[in-house]
Symmetry: C2
Subunit: 330 residues, 2 copies
Amino acid sequence: MPAICRRCRSKPAEVRLPYARMSLCPDCFRRYFEDRIRRTVEEFKMFKSQDTVGVAVSGGKDSAALLHGLRQAFPGLKLVALHVDLGIKKYSEHCLEKVRALTRGLEVELHVFDLKRELGFSIDDFRLTPYRRKICAPCGTIKRHLFDELAREAGVKVLATGHNLDDVVGTMLTTFLAGDWSQLVRLKPVLPPLSPLQTRKVKPLLRSPEWEDLLYAAYSDLPFRDIGCPHAGGTRVRRNQELLEALSRRNPAFRHQTLNNFLRLIPILEKHVDQPPLTTCRRCGYPSSAEVCAYCRRVELVKNTLEKRRQRSKLNPLLRGINRDQANDI
Amino acid sequence: MPAICRRCRSKPAEVRLPYARMSLCPDCFRRYFEDRIRRTVEEFKMFKSQDTVGVAVSGGKDSAALLHGLRQAFPGLKLVALHVDLGIKKYSEHCLEKVRALTRGLEVELHVFDLKRELGFSIDDFRLTPYRRKICAPCGTIKRHLFDELAREAGVKVLATGHNLDDVVGTMLTTFLAGDWSQLVRLKPVLPPLSPLQTRKVKPLLRSPEWEDLLYAAYSDLPFRDIGCPHAGGTRVRRNQELLEALSRRNPAFRHQTLNNFLRLIPILEKHVDQPPLTTCRRCGYPSSAEVCAYCRRVELVKNTLEKRRQRSKLNPLLRGINRDQANDI
């Protein structure tokens, strides 16, 4: 005999929430998920109901659940979806398709930044740089910057991202264990802008386990990507997830408790951590700890690499021609 | 061809220290181990050279390495060994034998507290109480109290314990992850006494990995126990060790880095954590957060349990007698 939903006491339960010792039917689970988004937004005063909120959508389950969840939790809120087309072969086209279907279905305005068209390179091109198999690092830097630009163009002051409980706790734990406190304090649920060029960043899914984002997106029939990024397999991220899994197996509430611990710790550390002094990037004008910011340096690196390659490939036919002529001489 | 010792450049290396990327011969390893003890004692100002230092010896490798290491690192220092005979069947006799051999060999005065003789119960008797398979908890409480008593009787103001790097980091990490900050700040390398009845507690092996304590004790031909405590298999402690192993496999310096992080964190947390208000135990007079301290409550529990059992076993023959008489009646 199947268990009965703990909330409605009528339909069969399908979702087990071990940390809450509760089983819910799909409909009640969706309400529960949306209530949690609303409570999280209110708890951290992420935005006001009259704000226009930009939502960074990637094509994945988390940002799909975020966009739909925010719409349900705050029916009157003005939402704008922002997407960066990273130009990753096959993958990015698939993601953009899902994003278009999602925003069309929810009737949300979509702004897309096309990396290849606007800047002349794709994330794939980092394979030619020394980043080779560690592409997640420059990709993150570039996305963070471009979402700020997209948000500014779209006129939104708040940018919501789909970071889930597993993402946040995993990053907090790794950053803490690495002793990088100045980075740790930047992981707070609301990150105010450091300059007028930046947006206030908020994480309404902070308390939503990754698995529940997936369930919510599936139960809500949201379109989301079903292929993985070819550059992922990111060693550190994946290893963190394994560590979290191991710790959560012993204690189903581990992630929730650890998040609360860090949320308690961060304001204390903030008073004691010296943030690196910030200056203004002389290329893009964004806040930076160096003369040229990480974004501009990554862009320059990949553009220079592509340029050198182009010049070499222009020379190659000439060189091959010379060789052929020499061969003919023999 | 075997590697050559990095220090003396003459003898074959036998000990690999992956976190330091260094291989040493046994003699140089022992010097290295003793130097680290000396530096640790000085770094945290654990004691002065004219102090008499009590060393808690259990019969195990860590406290054996500690006693011998302190003797070598501070040749003029007055040392007194303190041991609690826990009355654990077979195990405690074996430990006491090793402790006697160790202190005899090092010509160090030994004070023993015999739990069974002095208090009328053994740690084994906790099996009859609700602690059953979680005997490590009351055993720890009782040992901590009795080492304070032993130290006072022996006239020592500083008590050194053999907690190694793995112990300390494992406990720090678990305590931190459990969000128990008031307990975390008590894990600092020097714990001052809260009352004149208590001793200053210091951990000179704080920076010594467990594995190196074992090697040092073995290379120094120290007697130490070769059987395990029958009550161990302590779930939490063992699981912590597994977690540490997993994290260290990825980064050989993980434990060292994590220790340094916590040593940096603890003074900050100390200012923000409210320690539970302390009163004086009305039985033993030691500092306590309750009217009767944890030690006195554990002792009372086990004594009451034993007393009830004794009374029941006095009654049993009578009851059996009655049953026999009834049987005869039929």
